[in-house]
């Protein structure tokens, strides 16, 4: 699971002592080479770009190596609202995805156990959206939320939406899109842990005077924590860096732009590579920090 990438090195894994052998190293070599070539090299290049300075009297888009650390202060100053928005939207979307996915995963993994066929069908339905491009689906939502659709007209008729208001371009639409797009990434890891949940523990909880809610909070939830951690990470990390949902071509507008949109604009339209690179490095750093604190706080190493 993706979670293993952040797995604690402290978890004592009991295993038989193994003979050191060159074969392990040979087997690892392609992977290591791949990582060096396609992860480490671009990362270093990105960090170098992020501190570059414009070439004097040069064209737009021409930069030279420097050590212009001020780039970082400048991007924070210029783009802090987008940073806040990114993490705010990602957090809210993760929350809603969890609220929607947990009951769904519980139903498929526990309630539907006596009917394996139903389980298989429901799981297929969870994965089904992947058969259609992410872009197309998001675009479809834009059309569904457009002004003249029965859905929006209905909301207006019920006075839930003001007569002159739009859905597309609002934070609601962006968070909705993020939640929708990441629900499978939340549901599947939670399903995997719940599917293995031994219901005899729930019986034991009931037997020991814990009602349904108490049993859920003290037995089911802690036992499914590894799935929740994986699911929230798989949702939060890509959601924070997402630039499709919030883009004005899709569900967003200028007032909802997230950090991904700013990076895209600086890189492709403004050709301001150091700013785009500095934003990227900063985004990565903040995500790593948040994830690190989260994993430490939840302390799931006992469960894995």
């Amino acid at each position: 699971m993706a979670f293993a990438a952040f797995g604690s090195s402290t978890a004592p894994v009991e295993q038989a002592p193994r003979r050191r052998s060159g074969i392990a190293l040979i087997l690892l070599a392609p992977g290591l080479a791949y990582l060096a070539l396609f992860f480490l090299t671009p990362l270093i290049s990105l960090v170098i770009t992020s501190v570059q300075a414009p070439v004097e009297f040069g064209d737009v888009g021409q930069f030279q190596n420097a050590f212009k650390i001020e780039n970082y202060f400048a991007v924070v100053q210029d783009y802090w609202p987008q940073f806040l928005r990114s993490f705010g939207y990602a957090l809210v979307a993760t929350f809603f995805a969890l609220i929607i996915s947990y009951p769904l995963a519980y139903f498929i993994g526990v309630t539907a156990r006596p009917w394996p066929l139903a389980q298989a069908i429901l799981l297929t339905l969870v994965i089904a959206p992947f058969f259609i491009s992410f872009l197309l689906r998001t675009f479809a939502w834009k059309q569904l939320m457009a002004e003249d659709t029965p859905f929006v007209q209905g909301l207006k008729a019920l006075s839930i939406l003001a007569p002159d208001a739009n859905l597309v371009g609002t934070p609601f639409a962006v968070i909705f899109g993020l939640t929708y797009n990441f629900i499978p990434f939340m549901t599947l890891p939670i399903y995997v842990t719940l599917e293995r949940l031994d219901t005899r523990y729930l019986e034991a909880g009931n037997d020991l005077y814990a009602g349904p809610l108490s049993t859920f909070l003290r037995v089911t939830l802690p036992l499914s924590l590894p799935g929740i951690v994986s699911g929230t990470l798989l949702t939060f990390i890509p959601a924070a860096g997402d630039y499709i949902n919030a883009s004005s071509s899709f569900l967003g507008s200028a007032s909802t732009s997230m950090i991904g949109n700013v990076i895209e604009a600086n890189f492709i339209d403004l050709l301001d590579y150091p700013v785009a690179a500095a934003l990227s490095v900063l985004l990565m750093g903040i995500i790593l920090l948040i994830v690190g604190l989260y994993v430490r706080r939840v302390g799931t190493e006992d469960l894995l």
């Binding site: 005899r200 009931n206 020991l208 037995v219």
Partner: protein
């Protein structure tokens, strides 16, 4: 049960007309059972006889199709599991893996807001001599230790009724004996009602005050262990609870005190009080350890039954006793347990021998001989599968 208090004493359990049907089969059929308060009651039966289902019904983990369950006189048929004054020691222990041993034991106390839950949990762990492992996680303990934690987790709640679902199944023989005695001691000490489910007849007999033998969802016989052993009422009980030699024959005469049965031409006497049926074709029996083995024809005397001669077909030495199998023409195979009073077996394979026993030791069964096979088939699916395979292999070899 009121929150924050313990049960003062054990409660009695009453099952009235319980039926439990699952799709495709009936697990329990019209079960009536009364377990008196403060007793150690064992439900004994082969796998699939409905004993675990009975336990789950009492715990509230299953709902009966029909019938009522009363605990301490109160109808709990519709009461949810977590509101019943009952705790279970599960066969699988079901210790919460994300909690320490101490947290596991304190779980029930905390849910009921008992004051000083941790202190009482430590006390419970001391009772099973595991207080030093309170901070461990269950998976760091051995099977026997886990079993004792499960026991402590149920016992600390002082439930009016404690349910034990084959709790000693995973233990080795020595630990098993030790735990049996400990359980019995704990039960005496705390005075709770214990309902113990097991397929181990020795365990049921050593621990319980009352044993009910369950077969196919019905109680075959119920009573004190000695009573059940010495005077089984049916062939199932006679063979499930220890071993028996059973003979079938017609009653030829019956006086006030005893009946005489014709077993392959030999007159065998059974006290009337120990026989369930007094006319027609009957099945009578005697326990193997009650038989005496003779190498010469014993003198016929009043008050003794004699069968023989037969040939010794098998001698197996088991330390304390020796088991002899004797094939008597017309009667079948008779099993004899003899104490090793001398060094080693006294009779060897192929020797001619007779058996005798005191009339008072015979018993007559309630079964109609034609209606019942001598042994109930109690083979598990794995065995059946193996038998089918052997049969198929034999067929293939033949062709």
């Amino acid at each position: 049960m009121a929150i924050g208090t313990f049960a003062e004493a054990g409660a009695d359990l009453e099952l009235i007309g319980i039926n439990k049907r699952f799709p495709g089969f009936t697990a329990i059929d019209e079960l009536d059972l009364t377990v008196p308060a403060g007793s150690f009651f064992a439900l004994l039966g082969p796998s699939g006889c409905g004993k675990t289902t009975t336990l789950r019904l009492v715990a509230g983990l299953e709902e009966p199709t029909a019938g009522r369950i009363l605990i301490g006189g109160k109808d709990v048929t519709k009461v949810k599991t977590f509101k019943r004054p009952v705790n279970t020691v599960f066969q699988s222990y079901a210790l919460f893996p994300h909690m320490t041993v101490l947290e596991n034991v304190a779980f029930g106390l905390r849910r009921r807001n008992i004051a000083d839950a941790l202190g009482k949990a430590h006390e419970g762990l001391r009772l099973v001599e595991l207080d030093h492992l309170a901070a461990r996680k269950p998976q760091q303990l051995s099977g026997g230790q886990q079993q004792r934690v499960a026991l402590a987790r149920a016992l600390v709640n002082r439930p009016a009724l404690l349910l034990l679902d084959e709790p000693l199944g995973a233990l080795d023989l020595k630990l098993r004996r030790q735990m049996q005695l400990e359980l019995k001691a704990i039960q005496n000490e705390v005075g709770l009602t214990f309902l113990h489910v097991t397929h181990d007849q020795e365990e049921a007999m050593t621990m319980a005050d009352t044993v009910a033998v369950l077969n196919k969802g019905r109680i075959e016989q119920m009573g004190a262990p000695e009573e059940l052993y010495e005077l089984p009422r049916t062939a199932f009980v006679a063979n499930f609870l220890g071993q028996s030699n059973l003979f079938t024959g017609a009653v030829t005469s019956s006086s006030g005190s005893s009946i005489v049965v014709d077993v392959a031409g030999v007159k065998v006497e059974v006290p009337s009080a120990r026989a369930q049926r007094h006319v027609g074709l009957v099945t009578i029996g005697v326990r193997p350890e009650k038989l005496l083995l003779h190498t010469a024809p014993p003198e016929p005397s009043v008050g003794t039954n004699v069968l023989g001669p037969g040939r010794v077909t098998d001698v197996s030495f088991s330390g304390v006793s020796t088991q002899y199998q004797l094939a008597i023409p017309g009667v079948g195979v008779v099993v004899v347990f003899a104490q090793n009073m001398v060094f080693g077996p006294v009779v060897h394979e192929g020797a001619e021998a007779w058996v005798s026993w005191t009339v008072d030791h015979s018993f007559g069964l309630a079964d109609v001989p034609e209606a019942l096979p001598r042994f109930e088939a109690d083979t598990d699916t794995a065995t059946i599968a193996t038998q089918v395979r052997h049969k198929l292999l034999a067929e293939i070899e033949e062709s």
